[in-house]
């Protein structure tokens, strides 16, 4: 049970990995159509609330998805406003030795310049070595790479959203065990960034 892991672990990575394995939907905490897995994190210094977004199904159960698998994204509530959160994402990515490629609005290039939805930002980062190694193993990986981290302001809350590499690996690349290390690296990268961002 991931909550148990959270109470005994001193690492966000442990919590992150555990969440990826099992999501417990708390049906009592429905807010704005979302079920929040609202669990206090392991330390007071980490004032974030870890959530896994899953819109409320009529037949909500303990499963995080219809398949019983965890959702394909990990969502963390940020204690900061959107701009500060984006700044933190960029700083955290650079701190993880990722190359900062840029930031874009989700609808940028699809609407007139200046009319973008400024509540949805994508931060693009890249680990060139990881990307090159990944594509050498499986060219389909480009459908999920390079790395991007979304910062979204929705229903009055700022959320940081990343892909959930462990789940995507199972769903899309289950037949390619060579990719295990790639997805492990991605999980570590995202977990580290989420930890930094919400401090």
């Amino acid at each position: 049970m991931w909550f148990a892991a959270a109470s005994t672990s001193n690492t966000f990575q442990t919590l992150f990995a555990a969440v990826q394995q099992e999501i417990v939907l708390n049906v009592h905490e429905r807010t704005h159509g979302l079920y929040s897995c609202r669990k206090a994190l392991y330390a007071a210094s980490l004032a974030a609330t870890l959530c896994v977004v899953a819109s409320a199904p009529a037949n909500a159960t303990r499963e995080g998805s219809k398949s019983g698998e965890s959702p394909p994204v990990v969502v963390v509530d940020s204690p900061h406003d959107l701009e500060k959160t984006v700044t933190n994402v960029v700083r955290a990515a650079k701190g993880a030795n990722l190359r900062y490629v840029g930031r874009r609005f989700v609808d940028e290039g699809l609407v007139a310049q200046g009319e973008e939805d400024r509540h949805r930002v994508t931060v693009l980062v890249c680990d060139s070595a990881l990307l090159a190694d990944s594509l050498a193993l499986n060219k389909r990986l480009g459908t999920f790479l390079p790395c991007h981290i979304n910062v979204v302001e929705h229903a009055g809350a700022v959320k940081v959203i990343t892909l959930n590499p462990d789940v995507l690996k199972k769903a899309f690349f289950a037949d390619d065990p060579e990719l295990h290390d790639v997805f492990r690296s991605l999980s570590d990268l995202y977990a580290g960034i989420l930890e930094e961002v919400t401090l």
Partner: protein, 149 residues
């Protein structure tokens, strides 16, 4: 002369999840495959948001890989419509199709099948959105891989 496409595939990259990737092989050089894809995207009512030149980007850091691009596309309805109410979909927007060179006269188009995401999310509200995305991506890939000259 009409370019021949052998396309052949809608490979059902099979797994317990069904068709995990929507993909096709195009018997065309990479530049032509790119043009075909962009034309197909526009003919299906979408606009191209940007093209990420992965090969060029990696080349600047000393990695030599064959032509590899990611084409991001969408339209106002896609990004401002139903999906806007579901922040969990943000990482998958805009839609994208990857194009890469397989050989001098063969290229590949690959996209993640959005319907697989539907199985991973709990909400049934997302199913019609992801199904529509899959339908459009499939139509675009199919059109780009069809011999329309």
């Amino acid at each position: 002369m009409r370019r021949l496409l052998s396309t052949l595939l809608f490979v059902l990259a099979s797994s317990a999840w069904g068709e995990t990737f929507i993909e096709a092989r195009v018997d065309d050089a990479f530049p032509e495959a790119m043009l075909r894809l962009q034309s197909a995207i526009r003919s299906h009512g979408y606009s191209i948001a940007r093209i990420q030149k992965v090969d060029k980007g990696l080349g600047r850091f000393g990695y030599d890989i064959a032509p590899y691009r990611i084409v991001f596309f969408g339209h106002t309805g896609l990004v401002h419509g139903r999906a806007a109410h579901h922040p969990e979909l943000a990482p998958f927007l805009p839609l994208r199709i990857t194009v890469y060179e397989e050989s001098a006269d063969s290229s590949a188009l690959v996209a993640m099948n959005p319907e697989v995401l539907g199985q991973l999310f709990a909400s049934t509200e997302l199913d019609p959105i992801l199904s529509d995305w899959a339908s459009d991506v499939r139509a675009i890939v199919n059109a780009a891989a069809s011999d329309t000259d």
